[in-house]
């Protein structure tokens, strides 16, 4: 190992052994998972209490930790008395469920869309999920942030003849009604958790008796309410370890607050910094450093060599329909893939990403949201035979809703699929089985597709209790799907930055279509400009090769800025 590696490993060891409470400030690629798992496995096997809760922000991250424990031959370290899962799941299971009244069962939804919740005024309908409820600090009350409402819905609201306050009142009414029926989303669950924690001090005692330590990963993703809950737990003497990278705080729009996180860090007392980057090359680390606050030195690239490729800047033109590389006129991704090929990197290891999905190549943009389109998309997912479990499950749910609307017209179709299946007397698995068969039997979308779908609805085998009523539940509307991706193989991965957080790829292409990219990059402050932090997250996904597709007019200034900051660049 070289000196940088020795230094990085020593810092990791310190984070593994230091006592809680503790704040670990970990740069991208710092080996957080290694630190968390190693810290966890230092404990004795097969304990009956004094467990450890390892809490991540996403299920994928939690699964990564579980998998690593399994691979290391310690599956016991993922079971009782330990808890390895998401922070939301932990709060739900340990702070909400114990206080749930038997008369009022609660159902946790990942989005209000799961129950087709909508807000309607003057014949205009907006999904409830478009309203961002944010907890007002220090209270259990919410505000709805207008600035976070998608533009299309804002326009709809403006054209409704009713003012914003009317819509807000209506949104609260709809949500209250849903909550009274037992539905909550993660946001309401967090509020409930905070309330219970404040009103029942015994809850913290219970947690302390089971857990010797709570380790929260990706602490920068915590909302203000999450931080408030962690703060309370700390005050109640629950030993906390928070692992975070404030530079990667990109959920400001979901109420993550750098100041609150900093306050928590101070309260915890001890901070260990992991600034050895085991993932990215020197050029990538140097470029990333230009996108974070403070004049700090770049993170130490543990595996860097003199042969590391420079950062490739690709001058581009961005239009509503896509992008093209200015000198060649070809899509920017194609040019980047050529560069990656020269470095022996396969297309499957090349991520294309952008702040918004709309800026990604067309095949990766789901278009439209009407029922026919959703059903056509579900059919495509199923027929691809390559879709992952989540997509497939979501496709089956879409198919199941279509079937239930037709089979049981009298059901409340605004309730969750789980509730509908209970009301229909069917188990969810049986409905999913019907849905898969139904979706598979659907023809390719084309002219008269809804007619073909409705015929299939009529002809498909149905459960004994189904009682369709003529054409109620029939599919209407037109399906508009983006053209099928090329059949030569799997397309190279592409998603928006928030979706690729935590991932890593050999090569990453960041598309920066913003007209003010140069000014923001050179003069902006990442402490206040979340877009810069979002770009920071994107570029730090790269292991070896980084490309930036940027407006040609922005290119000269940014090139000069990067060269000033000793970032090796190549105009491609």
């Amino acid at each position: 190992m070289n000196a940088a590696a020795d230094q990085a490993a020593a810092a990791q060891q310190q984070a593994i052994t230091a006592a809680a409470p503790l704040f670990v400030r970990a740069c991208p690629g710092a080996g957080k998972t290694h630190v968390i798992v190693s810290r966890h496995l230092r404990g004795p096997a097969a304990v009956l209490r004094d467990g450890r809760a390892l809490l991540s922000y996403t299920r994928a991250a939690a699964q990564q930790i579980r998998d690593r424990c399994h691979r290391l031959g310690r599956p016991d370290a993922t079971g009782y008395p330990h808890y390895v899962g998401t922070l939301d799941g932990f709060l739900w299971n340990h702070l909400v469920i114990p206080h749930r009244s038997p008369e009022r069962p609660l159902q946790l939804l990942d989005s209000w869309d799961r129950v087709n919740a909508t807000v309607t005024l003057n014949h205009r309908t907006v999904p409830l999920s478009a309203f961002s409820f944010i907890c007002r600090p220090g209270t259990y009350a919410d505000v709805i942030r207008r600035d976070l409402m998608p533009t299309a819905y804002l326009r709809l609201i403006q054209s409704s003849g009713r003012n914003w306050d009317d819509w807000v009142r209506q949104a609260y009414t709809v949500r209250r009604d849903l909550c009274s029926r037992g539905y909550v989303t993660g946001h309401e669950a967090r509020q409930l958790a905070l309330q219970h924690l404040d009103r029942d001090p015994g809850l913290a005692d219970t947690l302390r008796s089971r857990f010797a330590e709570l380790v929260v990963d990706e602490g920068q993703d915590c909302s203000s309410t999450d931080v408030e809950i962690l703060d309370r737990l700390h005050e109640h003497g629950v030993p906390l370890v928070v692992v975070a990278d404030p530079d990667q705080l990109i959920y400001g729009w979901r109420d993550a607050d750098p100041a609150r996180l900093a306050a928590l860090e101070n309260k915890l007392g001890t901070t260990i910094v992991l600034d050895g980057n085991w993932r990215s090359t020197g050029p990538v680390c140097r470029l990333a450093n230009t996108l974070r606050t403070g004049r700090r030195p770049p993170d130490i690239a543990v595996h860097t060599t003199t042969a590391d490729p420079p950062v490739i800047l690709l001058p581009a033109v961005f239009t509503r329909t896509g992008n093209r590389h200015l000198p060649s006129g070809r899509p920017v991704t194609d040019i980047f893939l050529q560069h990656a090929h020269q470095h022996g990197i396969s297309p499957q290891q090349c991520l294309t990403t952008a702040h918004r999905r709309a800026h990604l190549p067309a095949a990766h943009r789901p278009n439209g949201a009407n029922t026919a389109t959703r059903l056509a998309h579900a059919r495509r997912v199923l027929h691809s035979a390559t879709a992952g479990h989540d997509l497939l499950d979501s496709a089956c749910r879409t198919g199941a809703r279509t079937l239930l609307r037709y089979w049981y017209p009298h059901l409340d179709h605004t309730s969750s699929l789980e509730d509908q299946s209970i009301a229909a007397g069917l188990d969810l698995d049986t409905i999913a089985r019907h849905a898969y068969a139904f979706l598979h039997a659907l023809p390719e979308p084309g002219p008269n597709w809804p007619k073909a779908v409705n015929q299939r609805l009529k002809d498909s085998p149905r459960p004994a209790g189904a009682a369709p009523q003529r054409t109620t539940g029939y599919l209407r509307g037109t399906a508009t799907l983006p053209p099928r991706t090329d059949d030569t193989g799997r397309p190279c991965p592409a998603d928006n930055i928030h979706q690729v957080k935590g991932a890593e790829y050999q090569a990453v292409l960041l598309l920066v279509p913003d007209d003010d990219a140069g000014i923001r990059w050179i003069n902006g402050d990442p402490a206040t400009d979340e877009l810069l932090r979002t770009w920071y997250v994107a570029v730090t996904r790269a292991q070896r090769l980084l490309g930036i597709g940027i407006g040609a007019d922005q290119l000269p200034a940014i090139t000069e800025h990067l060269r000033d900051r000793q970032v090796p660049v190549l105009i491609g």
Binding site: A46, H70, T78, A385, H389, R433, Y436, A437, P461
Partner: protein, 607 residues
């Protein structure tokens, strides 16, 4: 759908064993302690039992201890041919790619990690698809079920006990599905039982018990006793009814009175009827360990044929309603009976092997990807010969059956040493060899099957080839096409595949001055009328005598009939058994010693 593939890690002898299974019937063969039962157990642990009674789970004892410490037991199964009507159940476990008609494959696995020192319970975790952890047991575990018929099972007890009653109940319920049908049946049963209760003998029994009962209870509350049929329910009736069987012209006999063999057949018949009547799962895997136990070869062969047809029929059923289970049936049999495997195609065979006590490997005939015509030829041969070609024995390849008899007769003379017990073991090993006569089958085909490299291993057993040559040109001259053709097959000449040059036919090799007397005596014994032909042998110089001796086995120039080789060999064997002296020619003695190999445990050779 069917269980197409099984990977077993660290379970007993199976350190890292991949077994490919066939859609209908898979026959697992191999020597003892090669992991056949372990494969069945792996399927048992991965799937739910049909009757819901889960047996003992995995424990530390099951962990493989061969070849160093093993971390955890991992069992991994792949379900193939999952049709779109059924795939929704397995949506979290599907693998990428689709087959004809949109059929998919699904994978699931369980990992058992033994407890740390001082603890008793290990940890079992489940994964689905490409290794994603499953929260709890995956749907696959319950949607795929098994019925396990272990070796040495007491069919009589099972038929008359709770297991049998449960099966009867399932059959009754499956027949009584129409509205009111069950009620009407129970009414009929109640009337029958009432008649029985009213019988004077039954009443007399009641009266006999009432007397002491009244005496005992008189001080408290006067009670009476009697025999009566309880309120009939399907559960009560299932317990009261017993499976019986009979032949034409006889009366029904309880399973116990028909002998274990027919009890076994009856038990399997009830299992099949139950699976057909109550299709509760998408796939039921019938695991049969040693079906030949208690069964006549004819019965076991027919049984297997029937099982195969039942499995095929289950797959032919057009089950297109996703709301109903697919009801498919798959059979996995572990056996030592060559006759049993002859009932199915060779491609359904999977041979388990442990070369030199190494971890178990599974070699499937299907993996050889033989052309249809070749496979049919092999099947025909196995069907007629019942050859134990795939049962892990050494193979002796000779020109004719008479040569095989000759070697058998000579083995006692060759395998003699100071240790008589050792000699006995050597002879047993030699006699266990599978004999294949080139006159019966295309030896090229057999050698190709035995020696073709097949992924991790090959069937190539310790093979002795007694190949014909011509005198004076023993090596270069290729053997005639009618005899052994193995020249182009790879592997000949290696340690485990040896060629032994003998005469073509073999008789000339036997002739030497020391053997003349006994060879002549054998001729006299076998063909008393042909003894004058020996004069031709006497008339020749010693060097020419082998050729002339050999000619006796062909029609003479003067119209003399050929000596029958089988009769001759039998006569010679009788003389040798009586102690006549005989010098065994070197190549034959070498072949016998080679087959009676006393070194490391022989098994399928690893290339």
């Amino acid at each position: 759908m069917y269980l197409s593939e099984l990977t077993i890690e660290n379970l007993r002898a199976c350190r890292q064993t991949r077994v490919r299974l066939r859609p209908d019937v898979t026959i697992l063969t191999g020597r003892n302690d090669t992991g056949k039962t372990t494969v069945l157990d792996a399927i048992r642990h991965l799937t739910d039992p049909v009757d819901g009674h889960r047996g003992t789970g995995l424990t530390e004892i099951d962990l493989s201890h061969d070849g160093g410490p093993a971390g955890a037991i991992r069992l991994d199964g792949v379900l193939a041919g999952v049709r779109p009507e059924h795939a929704g159940t397995y949506r979290d476990a599907l693998l990428e790619g689709a087959g004809d008609g949109g059929t998919r494959r699904a994978r699931w696995s369980m990992t058992y990690t033994p407890p740390p020192l001082g603890r008793r319970r290990g940890v079992t975790t489940w994964h689905v698809g490409e290794g994603r952890e499953s929260a709890g047991e995956p749907a696959l575990r319950t949607a795929v079920r098994h019925v396990h018929l272990p070796a040495g099972r007491d069919a009589v007890r099972d038929l008359s006990g709770q297991v049998g009653a449960a099966r009867v109940r399932v059959l009754l319920e499956a027949l009584l599905t129409a509205p009111g049908e069950a009620g009407a049946f129970l009414d009929r049963a109640a009337f029958s039982l009432m008649d029985l209760s009213a019988d004077p003998v039954v009443r007399a029994v009641g009266a006999a018990v009432t007397r002491p009962m009244a005496a005992i209870t008189a001080a408290a509350e006067h009670r009476q006793a009697g025999l009566s049929a309880l309120d009939p329910s399907l559960g009560e009736l299932s317990r009261a009814l017993r499976m019986t069987s009979w032949t034409s012209g006889t009366t029904a006999a309880a399973a116990g009175r028909s002998g274990q063999g027919y009890a076994q057949a009856l038990y399997l018949a009830t299992v099949l009827a139950e699976l057909d009547a109550a299709r509760e799962s998408d796939l039921t895997v019938l695991l049969i360990d040693g079906p030949e136990t208690h069964l006549h070869p004819l019965l076991s062969t027919v049984l297997l044929k029937n099982l195969q047809e039942a499995a095929q029929a289950s797959r032919r059923r057009d089950q297109t309603d996703p709301g109903l289970p697919a009801g498919h049936l798959q059979i996995v049999v572990s056996t030592h009976a060559p006759g049993l495997s002859a009932a199915v195609s060779a491609r359904d065979l999977v041979v388990l092997t442990r070369p030199g006590r190494q971890p178990v490997r599974a070699v499937a005939v299907a993996d050889l990807e033989m052309a249809g015509r070749e496979l049919r030829r092999l099947d025909r041969y196995l069907s007629v010969s019942r050859s134990s070609l795939f049962y892990g024995t050494p193979v002796l390849l000779v020109a004719t059956t008479a040569e095989a008899l000759l070697l058998s007769a000579l083995a006692d003379l060759v395998l003699t040493g100071p240790d008589s017990e050792q000699n006995s073991h050597d002879v047993s090993r030699f006699r266990a060899a599978t004999v294949i006569a080139a006159s019966d089958v295309d030896p090229g085909l057999i050698l190709a099957v035995l020696l073709t490299e097949n992924g991790e291993a090959r069937f190539g057993q310790r093979i002795a080839v007694l190949a014909g040559t011509y005198p004076g040109n023993p090596v270069e001259m290729p053997p005639p096409a009618s005899t052994v053709r193995f020249c182009d097959v790879p592997g000949v000449g290696t340690d485990n595949v040896r060629r032994f040059a003998v005469g073509e036919p073999i008789w000339q090799t036997l002739m030497c001055p020391a053997n003349e007397a006994v060879l002549r005596a054998a001729l006299r014994e076998a063909e008393p009328d042909s003894e004058q032909r020996w004069q031709a042998v006497d008339a020749e110089e010693p060097a020419e005598r082998p050729r002339v001796f050999q000619n006796m086995f062909s029609p003479g120039l003067g119209g003399e009939p050929a000596v029958c080789p089988i009769r001759y060999v039998n006569a010679l064997a009788d003389l040798l058994a009586d102690g006549s002296p005989f010098t065994v020619p070197t190549p034959i003695a070498d072949a016998i010693r080679f087959l009676a190999h006393t070194g490391a445990d022989t098994d399928i050779e690893t290339p």
